[in-house]
Symmetry: C2
């Protein structure tokens, strides 16, 4: 993987339909996350209709971005820990066990939203990711996601 392609570009096709991050979901956000040193970064431009009150992005969007950013970060961190390319097998794909968001101030809707994540802990199949959300350099929200490797029988 080169520096510029995104974690989500490497998700196996059968798990690339997520509304938040799946490259195969034409209706979705299709977020893209990359490494920046030990941090992971997603930049997303809200749509004009992703409103909370006029002028600001709604909390569900911020939560969604944090969620998918963090499961992507969890997968990337596991590959990195194993020194493996993200296209190598077996594939890592994570689901969210818990999601926590603290909304600190309104996030403007007309500017790109930047999410930065750090892996707090890797323990077995579980990865804890902490995130900060900024708009124009101003911190507007903090997130914490507990991500777990998708069970083989997920949804069965």
């Amino acid at each position: 993987m080169t520096a510029m392609d995104a974690f989500q570009d490497h998700y196996p096709d059968n798990v690339a339909h997520c509304y938040g991050c799946g490259r195969l979901n034409p209706h979705g956000h299709q977020i893209k996350t990359i490494w920046d040193g030990d941090e992971t970064v997603t930049v997303y431009q809200p749509e004009p209709f992703h409103t909370s009150v006029p002028g600001f992005a709604y909390g569900g969007l911020i939560a969604s971005l944090i969620d998918c950013h963090s499961t992507g970060t969890a997968a990337a961190a596991m590959y990195r820990q194993e020194g493996r390319d993200m296209d190598s097998l077996p594939a890592f794909r994570f689901v969210t066990a818990s999601l926590h968001v603290d909304f600190l101030k309104p996030t403007p809707i007309d500017a790109p939203v930047e999410i930065r994540g750090r892996v707090q802990e890797i323990k077995g199949r579980k990865v804890v990711v902490r995130t900060e959300v900024r708009s124009g350099g101003v911190l507007t929200a903090r997130g914490e996601v507990v991500a777990v490797q998708m069970p083989e029988n997920f949804g069965a």
Copy 2:
């Protein structure tokens, strides 16, 4: 307010554009929440493209529904506490200070999702709402939202 109209039908026009719950946002979810005794209930049918993995609803949608259900519940609870109609002034409108979701199992995408909430605490301008998410009667997620009355200068 009659038993059948929803909390969101009473939001003042200038705060009825939320992507999750605003009746004036034609792109959004436009959720509707009502009282059922001491509980509040929202039923929402996910769109086919609200996918996590095929067949299941993505976590960001569940988080969004919990978020808007809970701010609506907070407003309704404040009116009820004051014995006031939801159209009376001054209007109560809440924003989310924090959102927590525990995802217990995948939520099917092809069936209505039911969110039930209870007010855990009202303290000054803050209301804590706990929610359970079910599909076909099966508990799939739990939420807790700390909602606060929207400041007069919100976004200023």
